[in-house]
Symmetry: C2
Subunit: 326 residues, 2 copies
């Protein structure tokens, strides 16, 4: 009998839901506009209604539903299912989300950090399949990470493990939003890299990007820099090279510390593809010790926008080893 879980990915813009079977197949996708709900209670009520709608539409016997997993952008006490705070979603401080959802749904609920669940999804059904020790990173506005150790999600002693974006790239360096300085995120985060390249263009570096955005540099995005690089634009190629070196230096440290089998990289910026990955792999090859450097494969995430939903559902697929990926 095929079993299912509901996976939910609560994000700053959209909250995505779907039914996921134990083979990782996603169906009955639906989404809500997170920002349209002004209060926490309103969003939770909408999520409950949406879960019930998906279950009704799928016409599945309740016995086939293992539970509802939900990933949120913030620190979560996984054991208690309590959200400490959310990034970019106000009013969620100290929310007992597991209890609140279980009170309204007749199903078990598990809550975890969204990047942890992306790591779990990739580990079980994506680029991490078959690996026991791996690190997943997401490159976007923020730079986050999730860690799988001995086949299980490693959450750390206060549920905050995996903050790859705030590992220092520079001994000193530019101030970061976190209060520290020199953090990796400050040098490879979406907005920062766009601003940095904009500066170079304004100072006169020749590039086809100006044409691609009709001279409106405020329309520049990582996608456009990638497009330009694919068309052979020197400035864009060099730029991805630099961004890849920065990521590679931090990853070399992680490779030497954790000796993972794989590092999986997802998020919008990862769509830069080969110009970025080549530079990351070369830098890790140069900076990591020979044994762990040879042992690691650096791969692009495979599940795309579904990773969070699939990972959230996957929390229920191995209950005897909750959160384990094999």
């Amino acid at each position: 009998m095929t079993k299912f879980a509901i996976g939910i990915d609560l994000g700053g813009t959209y909250t995505k839901l779907a039914l996921v079977d134990t083979k990782g197949k996603v169906s009955n996708r639906t989404k809500l506009s997170t920002a349209a709900y002004r209060t926490r209670a309103g969003l939770i009520a909408a999520i409950v209604a949406e879960v019930n709608a998906v279950l009704a539409k799928a016409r599945l016997s309740p016995r086939k539903i293992l539970g509802v997993g939900i990933g949120v952008p913030g620190i979560v006490d996984f054991r208690r299912g309590r959200v400490y705070n959310l990034t970019n979603v106000p009013g969620w401080e100290n929310t007992p989300l597991k209890g609140m959802l279980e009170a309204k749904l007749d199903l078990p609920v598990l809550v975890d950090n969204d990047v942890n669940l992306m790591a779990l999804g990739e580990c079980r059904f994506g680029a991490g399949r078959g690996a026991k020790n791996l690190v997943c990173i997401t490159l976007g506005t923020g730079v986050g990470g999730g860690i799988i150790i001995d086949g299980a999600l490693y959450r750390g002693s206060a549920f905050s493990a995996g903050e790859v974006g705030h590992m220092p790239l520079k001994e000193r360096g530019l101030p970061c939003g976190c209060g520290s300085y020199g953090c990796l995120e400050r040098y490879v985060g979406n907005r920062y890299i766009v601003d940095e390249l904009k500066g170079k263009i304004l100072r006169g570096s020749p590039t086809i990007i100006k044409k691609l955005v009709n001279n409106d540099l405020s329309a520049m995005t990582p996608e456009i820099i990638s497009k330009a690089a694919l068309k052979g634009d020197r400035l864009s190629i060099d730029f991805w090279n630099t961004v890849g070196e920065r990521i590679g230096v931090t990853l070399a440290g992680i490779v030497n510390l954790l000796n993972p089998e794989r590092i999986i990289i997802g998020g919008g910026v990862a769509d830069a593809g080969e110009p970025l990955f080549k530079s990351i792999r070369r830098t890790v090859g140069e900076r990591a010790l020979p044994v762990p450097g040879k042992a690691v494969k650096i791969l692009k995430a495979k599940l795309g926008n579904d990773a969070g939903i699939i990972g959230a559902a996957a929390l229920f697929f191995y209950p005897e080893t909750r959160g384990r990926c094999k």
Copy 2:
């Protein structure tokens, strides 16, 4: 019935042995001069003779001896008990040490990396007691580390995890012996820090160190720099401050990545004590994220030179969870 294991710490200079009971009490200490044995076979024969001598002297029934644990300075396949190579001990490439010792001793043998075993010893009987997630680092000529995750030694996918000394402190930086550059070890390793301070003194920085070494700067050691700092020598205090900042930057990265409960620091350089630890703690406080920064305690190792012996024996104290510390 109190049970025992033999713990062995094979080092470049000495090979130390002792009997350790399941409460961590060490007795019947003995040591060999590693370098006095020209061949691998000679050293192994001497270790076997010494183990037998310790057992004979202690007059223990064989039933009370759980096994022989041995830590070596190099990469070890723990499962097979095979040594890939040793640092500063030539001729040990690809040695099936577990099998060779078991063939001559009528006891089970386990072989692991020495810093892993120091971490296990500190976790079970030293500064890590009661903690589930911790990182141990040793500050000496080399800078090494051992990682305990969920109460068990984490060895990585190719048994090389924990190389804290080769995490990049600098995005760029000075060449390191490992082939990379900018590594933490290159900026806080024993020899490098002595040379760096020597340079400052030769360039005229005033200090009482010159008096402490009778103007023979080649006699300068970390111990002497510590002595000078304790006497209020400005140059030495500032120097430990700088070294602590460098260590603190790398540790802040580890704190953000792994969210450990404790970081335990041992090795000769750690004897610099408070001037060094204060600077490390302040830097981690400034550079780590608030949640993991508050969750971590940074402590001096407690077991001193016995940590390796105790950790090696401890491999036998929790056979159901081999290598676990609680």
